[in-house]
Symmetry: D2
């Protein structure tokens, strides 16, 4: 990770602001010979796209991704893949009132403090719009994973909205794609819809917790001690806008467990070691164990709200600020496909990194 680049070998560099002409990213280090087209990437972008329900910002963006390099005759060439998404609905005037003010809870003030200058239109570089580039890069990562780890499957969903958590007993994977919240608990969907409607009408917003699971991850991924798989996932998820916490497996709940409870006991199965539980979330010592990799992250409530909040402007004058514009009442919703994309990028990167050092050969057991 370095400024606007992440990844060791599968490296993604993103660029662009919310209201500039375009945003995009360069994916460098992609293996050659992987089948890839714009049609492979677009579905992932469509999942993250704003304006798909009343629960997301009403900004209208086609989010049409173009591949400008690195793909020839339908396959990757091993050279940098440039992905560009044009901004089409940049109503800058919506943001005029915040040009000189610092929204509480927002990066406005820290960008000003650090850089002395900022593109204030729609949050500029700090806008969640940048995550479209991550999702596009995630699409490339998924193509790599489909080639190098065919059984691998990534699933993201929301497990908590505000004070309302799902009931794990009602978890149904099939429910996830059928509601606007990526919620795996059908009963929670109704509760969340009412809850969020109420908040939205009250000119308020709310936080959420997202879980992303990857099954079929090969054992052996992760480069301890400072390129651990969990370190890299923590960094990747924490880099998403508004994320304030990341946990792996039991996460913070593991602090309350005893060693006897927390031990994922091991038995020998037909295809190799089998674990009797997965408190570890699929990662031990920073290396994947072959169990599902489970990551959760907390998203704070959108800071741009229609309720006035006390703040200052660039002259130091104290004001009350109402943030007009088109904002997500629960930005966690659109963070689901972003979390999936980051998972895909980190796993693709670690497959390449592991293959580089070890050749991808696994130590035998039995």
């Amino acid at each position: 990770m370095s400024l606007n680049t992440f990844g060791h070998l599968f490296r993604v560099t993103t660029w662009g602001e919310s209201h500039g002409p375009a945003i995009g990213c360069t994916v460098d280090g992609c293996p050659p010979g992987i089948k890839l087209s714009e049609a492979d990437l677009q579905p992932w972008l469509d999942r993250r796209k704003p304006g798909t329900s009343k629960f997301t910002t009403q900004r209208q963006e086609a989010d049409q991704v173009r591949i400008l390099s690195g793909v020839f005759e339908g396959v990757t060439t091993g050279t940098p893949i440039q992905l560009m998404i044009e901004n089409t609905d940049q109503r800058s005037k919506d943001y005029s009132n915040i040009a000189q003010a610092f929204r509480p809870g927002h990066a406005d003030i820290t960008y000003h403090q650090k850089y002395g200058v900022r593109d204030y239109r729609g949050g500029g570089r700090s806008s969640a719009r940048e995550t479209a580039s991550r999702v596009a890069a995630g699409g490339v990562a998924r193509a790599v994973l489909a080639s190098l780890a065919p059984g691998l499957k990534i699933t993201g969903y929301m497990v908590q909205m505000g004070v309302h958590a799902i009931d794990r007993a009602r978890f149904e994977a099939a429910v996830i794609e059928g509601n606007p919240f990526w919620c795996p608990d059908a009963a929670a969907v109704t509760v969340w819809a009412d809850y969020l409607d109420g908040l939205r009408l009250a000119h308020n917003s709310v936080g959420a917790v997202i879980e992303v699971t990857a099954s079929g991850v090969p054992a052996g991924l992760g480069a301890p001690l400072y390129g651990k798989l969990d370190s890299d996932l923590a960094s990747a998820m924490m880099s998403i806008n508004a994320v304030k916490g990341v946990e792996i497996g039991d996460g913070f709940a593991a602090a309350s467990l005893t060693g006897v409870e927390n031990a994922d006991e091991i038995r020998m199965g037909a295809a190799g070691p089998e674990f009797l539980s997965n408190h570890a979330g699929g990662i031990l010592g920073g290396i994947s164990s072959g169990q599902p990799v489970v990551v959760r992250f907390a998203v704070k409530p959108t800071s741009s709200i229609l309720t006035p909040r006390a703040t200052i402007d660039g002259t130091g004058a104290e004001i009350d600020l109402v943030t007009k514009g088109r904002h997500d009442p629960c930005v966690g919703i659109r963070a689901v496909p972003v979390g999936e994309a980051m998972m895909a990028c980190v796993l693709a990167d670690h497959i390449l990194l592991d293959r580089g050092q070890t050749g991808g050969v696994r130590g035998q057991i039995g």
Copy 2:
């Protein structure tokens, strides 16, 4: 972060195994002209040292740090600083029963899967012993911070042991250094001592939550979007042995907040902007705001316990394993100085990184 190195400009590369002749690290990129001696580093190592109470491993290590390079006539020269700590109490026989077995919850099996070979003595590279190197590097980082951010102060403490959390209303900073748990709540100390004694005698162990706070952090540190201060802290803390979760400010609790509640409102103070609350934990958009930086991380219970657990050995045979040896019943205790060290390294690194790009000049307000 890359394999065994972390940091952008202030870069730390650690090496060594639990039962090899020595462990250590190279600190590269340190500014020149900083006063530094072994006597400046030793106190930090003494805080992390094993065997200081009955609540930590009884392994006896002097943990004497030597500076082998990079310091001349009492000041840093800007060249790599090599810090070496000899291992003196490596009773390898203690670990003979786990040479061929995989401890549940431990990195034994994943190191085997990844590398096909491992130094099984005392956990080898995956041992918490490695964290002594981090603490030594943290000592160098503190010297840098003392020079470049004189008012900056880092404080680590334990806020939860197993099921017992501190009462924030009883928080007293002065209490922290006076008990073996770095606990800021005097009443909790007694509870924890009894609790941990019981677990230890029952051949069990337990997890913990650590909080590390840095006050006096200059505004403007952090390199969005992928070298964000919070991303780097998440990565740094998650790379510590046994850590399963990291959060900044309100962290996971922020998911339950509304935007109205979560907004840290801003007023103009005599010395610049002042925030009326610190839900953000001192970081907005990946950049420090000048408020205290607050990080918490969850440590799972020690996996090496005297209670038998079901597992397999290298031949795939199913066995019940008791891990003899000298282990910490709550490895979270010794993680406190490690968390402080990682905070120091990340902040020193970001001060240099920010100075490189922006010259360390801050945007004016008012």
Copy 3:
């Protein structure tokens, strides 16, 4: 340097192929508040542009650079600067005969060996067209240098074409911009023009040596031992298409000198140390001394020529290949602005890197 990125803090990632829709680069880590517009960059691109004389390829490219991000209201914001140049004259049919054949002396065969697939149109990624992105990035670097090292001046020129070297006694800086070869020796211009005309009509091509000098470089730039200023310059220049050698100061001629001759003796001038000679080319121990930094690099002859050469095709069949198309008879000519751009990028990067570690404060003498 890493795959398609170079630089430590001022990092340039280039992307794009000769005959794709566009090429470009991301400049990350640029200081904020630097005045920058497309009009500042275009003149540098115009210098490198093909088709400006009969001595360069007749491909017609406007090489119009667009800034897509990182600049707001005329100044850099500290966020990634995306520079895009559309390809407008991609006559792919010109290259049809080499789609399946490997041009001798060209990267065709090694790209095939490494990646198994390549964009054969106009050399694809290995085309010198990519250097337009470097020149654009160099324009940004020059803006940074103008701000942080105002007296710094970079001058590139050709000192040898084929067997004809310039006469140093006739060196006139004013001559450089007035001829199509960036030649500082007016007498050599005529010789070179005739020589190159002859080679071109004979369906041949020829090599060259370029020198790039930077005066006004602050002392203290360079991060020994593996981020030395000369190491980074060597890497930067060697990465330019067709470059086969790099030297600093006296370079290979230094091998013939004795220690007595080679010592650049030092006297004390009004403004600090003054050197009586510059065998070192402005760099000692990898660090700039304040003297002009002098780099030379050798460019091999264009490998795409109209004279038939023995080679094989993808099936392994032995063929004689004539490379039709629009090629530079002396690709070294257009390498001059590219070498200048790489010098600018490396120096801007090292100013930031040095400022990060040392604060840019210099050790006093006297």
Copy 4:
């Protein structure tokens, strides 16, 4: 490359000063399961060791290398390998006269300018003594190459001392190891011995040109455009003390060639493509072609000489300086094993990097 680390995946971080207690390096990213012992490394260090003939410095150093980590039961574990060499003959008093003076042609002044402070004993960090660490790391790289590219062979030798170049017609590989200059031309050995004796007695020194060849290099190594194999070799060789120029294949001579002459024509051999010449030095477009990789570098004369040279001291006073002490009259001699080591490290690194991205699978021909 970054400060004191080089390599992408096979990463070497060196530390230590000439007259500190020890020097050494961390080799990170080494594949696991490679047979390695101190006895495998020592012979390479013995080749570089000072004091082996009257033509090298008379400093006496055992240069005994110790492996402190990363190797267990005779094989690498995939964790960082720490190599330490104690300094035993640090007669600091020899250097007392240069503590406050800047030797012309030496890094003394630039280290002072950059860092404001330096370890002046024996050149400190800028001493050629640091290259012992590179040679140790090179020993590890050779073990990796022996495992992953069994036919690969690296040979270094001196092709020019001062004004005396070898006669290529008399090149005999068998001669190289039998003389103190690693000279492949038996007739030149006598000339060089007399020449160097004369210079040494005249209190002078002289430069040299070294060539390093690697045969059996697999095709496909190199990560264009900025991790090109030749860029990385240029950077690696230029980072060696006193090196002022690097060239690949025909290098600067290629500037005088025409395209017809320079084309390495290709025919189809029994085992794949065969080149009829090797002007390219085994690298095309930054990627190895399967031909021998040929690198040359120029070493300037030792700047520490017994002949007085005009310079200044730290107060700015103008003085005449004689550098007493034990110096190499031709430091190029001992640069031969160093150049070999850098070649080994770069090739090992690129084998891992290529394997990471492409899986090490080669595009078929025929």
